[in-house]
């Protein structure tokens, strides 16, 4: 017998701890006005427009305009109705029943019904088509025209996160059946149920969205109901930060992605609005390969972690606009272990002692430590296309300090994309600066429990098994306190004991706008910029 709930979350309650609160208060000076249009300068031309296949957090602001999900996540971490007007979970946690909202249509005129949702869930869980397949997804069944039943292989706390994630955005069945191969390249065949639809898309240049006049099913997380305030929004892709900043306010109305240096142009300035928000999920951090010499010695990893002054570097580069990180997990995550703050780092003396103990006692002509004729050297692979917010500069700063402080050679290998993931998976890379943003519990846990095994074949190493068991337990349990406890344990192990991660930065998102633009904000689930449904322009 299933019990019916409207606003229930498997993780409810504890997520309140996370809070958001970093975003500047939305200024609701006047009554919202309908009509008008804006130009929005953005960083990213999506690689792929199919929400089931896009993993760029910077592209979600477009997709969230075009697509809706069955449920929506609130600031508190609760799940509230969106396309599903209600849902229920069976007592054993393996069957979820969704009751769909009536009268919802797609941009192409198709009706939202149980069959459409089943098709979407099945596609979103089909590999290799989808990158968001849920490991414990078993099947979806159409119960009646407006009811879908989803069966899981076993209870899994992170299922609703996937349901509410834009990666499981509901696409028109017509798009999915007739135009599947055209969806990645955008265009008008890409139909959803969201408040905007694609009017035109020019690769490498811009996408123009127009209001979907039938839209009348906004979730309660939104500030208003009915169709969007704006008639039209032009997202202009401006990859170069100085172009975005230079174009505001004369040529664009809103921009996202503002470097620390440029913040002062907008923050607390007349005529501008500036908002910033810490990302949920993971931090920007170094992933260390604990199976590759010399990092297979935990003393070397500790020395590396403590051999540089992260605070000074972050302060000089980001001027207080971006915070240094203390943990693998973001401080706004409910699973963040605050006790790690101040518990590590910048202890050069001890780092040198550890390296002496580990036998790296000789020095070569360039001042690097040497053991058995081999230099103490690690290679960091950081593909240039992931480089933003001066991260490669930060890595170079760390490299410089490690050389001066502890005689460790920290080679920052910046190469354009090509094959970096293959190289990382082959185990030939010492350090990979991870920029993945895991919004969901499962992926966070997977990352945390890898035990420093970057190589695919090391991931089966028996020494990692206990960590994996812990992670599995955290996913299966319905006891939130227990889940938090396991999360804390894993974070402490990864950062303090095993040093498989060295946290660097709390990732953050920024928006700046001309002050006639109102209603801007961030996506609750991951913290990146939100679509423009609630945005309006003062006359």
């Amino acid at each position: 017998m299933a019990k019916k709930k409207f606003i229930v979350s498997a993780l409810a309650g504890i997520l309140v701890l996370g809070g958001i609160g970093v975003a500047a208060p939305r200024h609701a000076a006047a009554e919202p006005v309908s009509g008008g249009e804006i130009t929005y300068g953005t960083q990213t031309d999506p690689v792929n427009w199919n929400p089931h296949q896009n993993n760029q957090a910077n592209a979600f602001l477009y997709l969230r305009n075009i697509f809706d999900t069955l449920l929506e996540k609130t600031e508190n971490g609760d799940f509230v109705p969106s396309l599903a007007e209600s849902y229920s979970v069976s007592d054993d946690g393996t069957v979820y029943t969704f009751r769909l909202r009536d009268g919802v249509t797609f941009h192409d005129g198709e009706k939202l019904d149980a069959a459409a949702v089943k098709l979407n869930l099945d596609k979103a869980n089909e590999t290799p088509y989808s990158i968001y397949a849920f490991p414990n997804y078993d099947s979806a069944t159409v119960v009646d025209d407006r009811t879908v039943e989803v069966r899981l292989k076993k209870p899994d706390a992170s299922f609703l996160d996937s349901i509410a994630y834009i990666g499981w955005g509901i696409i028109s069945p017509k798009s999915l059946t007739e135009h599947l191969n055209d969806l990645p390249s955008g265009g008008q065949n890409l139909a959803g149920t969201g408040p905007f639809r694609i009017s035109s898309y020019q690769k490498g240049a811009q996408v123009v969205l127009e209001s979907f006049d039938d839209y009348n099913w906004a979730p309660e997380t939104k500030a208003h109901q009915g169709k969007a305030y704006l008639d039209k929004v032009t997202y202009r892709f401006l990859a170069e930060p100085s172009s975005r900043v230079g174009a505001l306010p004369a040529q664009v109305d809103v921009i996202e992605g503002i470097s620390a240096l440029d913040v002062s142009k907008f923050k607390d300035r007349d005529g501008f609005v500036y908002l910033s928000n810490d990302a949920n999920g993971d931090t920007f951090k170094l992933s260390l390969n604990a199976f590759l010499s010399p990092l297979d010695d935990v003393r070397v990893r500790q020395a590396l972690r403590d051999g540089f002054d992260l605070d000074a570097l972050v302060k000089s580069l980001y001027r207080g606009e971006i915070r240094r990180a203390w943990s693998h997990t973001s401080p706004v995550s409910p699973f963040y272990d605050k006790s790690l703050e101040g518990a590590w780092g910048n202890n050069v003396e001890n780092a040198n002692k550890l390296l002496d103990e580990a036998g790296w006692t000789e020095r070569d002509s360039e001042g690097f430590r040497v053991k058995d004729g081999k230099r103490l050297s690690v290679r960091v692979l950081y593909p240039t296309q992931l480089d933003r917010e001066q991260r490669s500069t930060l890595l170079q700063g760390i490299s410089q300090q490690l050389k001066q402080n502890i005689g460790l050679e920290f080679i920052v290998d910046l190469t354009p994309s090509s094959t970096y993931l293959k190289e990382v998976a082959s185990g030939a890379v010492h350090i990979y600066p991870s920029t993945w943003l895991h919004s969901d519990v499962r992926k966070s846990l997977n990352g945390l429990s890898n035990g420093g095994a970057l190589a695919t074949d090391n991931k089966a190493d028996p020494s990692i098994q206990p960590l994996k068991d812990l992670a599995a337990e955290a996913l299966a349990t319905s006891d939130n306190a227990q889940r938090i406890k396991i999360f804390h344990e894993l974070q402490r192990k990864a950062v303090i004991d095993d040093v498989t991660y060295i946290p660097l930065l709390v990732q953050a998102y920024q928006i700046a706008a001309s002050n006639k633009v109102n209603g801007l904000g961030f996506i609750n689930q991951i913290g990146s910029p939100e679509g423009v449904y609630d945005v309006w322009v003062a006359k």
Binding site: E240, P241, S242, V245, G246, S259, L261, D262, A312, L313, K315, S316, L317, T384, Q390, S392, T393, Q396, G397, Q400, Q401, V412, D413, L414, T415, P416, S418
Partner: protein, 286 residues
């Protein structure tokens, strides 16, 4: 088709303006000597280490301490520009050497190898010329990856056809002059004749083209760097410095200005010297 378009184009394009050894040429030579000293003894000229960071001195405008100011990690821009000259100059010279070597081999084979070989090689050359050199460079980078050495190849290969055409034309001119046949007739080996007479005679225009190519290659190298397809950070290659400086140019104009001036002045000096050489060596021929 004895004297090729290329040669004429080069002659036309670059025919020297100044009638005497002008101030411009003297200044250019002086500047190039300075660059050469920078390349050979960067330590002697640089005021700071090009890689030492100093977070407290980040983004300082030009001053007595930091002549060109500092970048966002507090590195001294003047010292980075000085050390960067080695990259730009080696791209200029390296790519030209690759083109020169390839051009001499292809051009000499074509000019000397008989009708069929000549036709085959020159049609192949036409194809290479039909491909814009930037495309060849991009294909090389796409397949081989980035880095200084690959940049040399990427640029050098694209220049080979120009050199091959010119060398072949020179070889034909010299060959048709008749003295090669007579020398062979007098029992000298063909190789010896080529080495002792043909190549030295053909060398002047090739030398001029090479000088011009150095400037072009430096420009092409900085362009690849700017597109992030050349040498990688923290190398202080000039194009890369500009690319890095661009994102903060509104706050720190010096990061977007000095490396650009360095590239432009170097290319300008090479061009002026090249033109002057051309006037000296090629005027009699045109």
């Amino acid at each position: 088709m004895s004297r090729d378009n290329t040669n004429n184009a080069v002659t036309n394009r670059l025919s020297a303006r100044p009638k005497r050894l002008s101030v411009a040429v003297i200044l250019s030579v002086v500047f190039l000597v300075l660059i050469a000293i920078q390349v050979l003894f960067p330590e002697a000229i640089a005021t700071h280490s090009p890689i030492t960071i100093d977070p407290l001195a980040a983004l300082q405008p030009p001053s007595r301490e930091h002549w060109f100011g500092t970048d966002n990690l507090g590195r001294d821009l003047f010292s980075r520009v000085v050390h960067g000259s080695a990259y730009s100059v080696s791209i200029g010279f390296g790519a030209t050497l690759i083109a020169l070597a390839g051009g001499i081999v292809f051009g000499a084979l074509a000019g000397f190898g008989g009708r069929w070989l000549d036709q085959a090689l020159m049609r192949f050359n036409d194809v290479l010329m039909a491909l814009p050199s930037i495309l060849l460079a991009l294909v090389v980078v796409a397949l081989l990856g980035t880095g200084l050495v690959n940049t040399l190849w990427a640029i050098g290969i694209g220049l080979i056809p120009q050199f091959a055409r010119l060398v072949r034309a020179e070889v034909l001119v010299v060959r048709n002059a008749g003295y090669v046949e007579s020398a062979v007739g007098f029992g000298f080996s063909k190789t010896a004749v080529v080495c002792r007479h043909v190549i030295p005679n053909a060398i002047h225009p090739v030398f001029v083209l090479a000088t011009i190519s150095i400037g072009g290659s430096i420009l092409a190298g900085s362009t690849l760097s700017f597109l992030k397809l050349g040498p990688q950070p923290p190398a202080p290659e000039w194009g890369l410095l500009l690319s890095e400086g661009r994102s903060v140019i509104e706050h720190a104009w010096w990061l977007g200005v000095f490396p650009g001036i360095a590239i432009s002045l170097t290319v300008l000096s090479v061009t002026v010297v090249g033109k002057s050489l051309q006037k000296r060596y090629l005027q009699k021929e045109s």
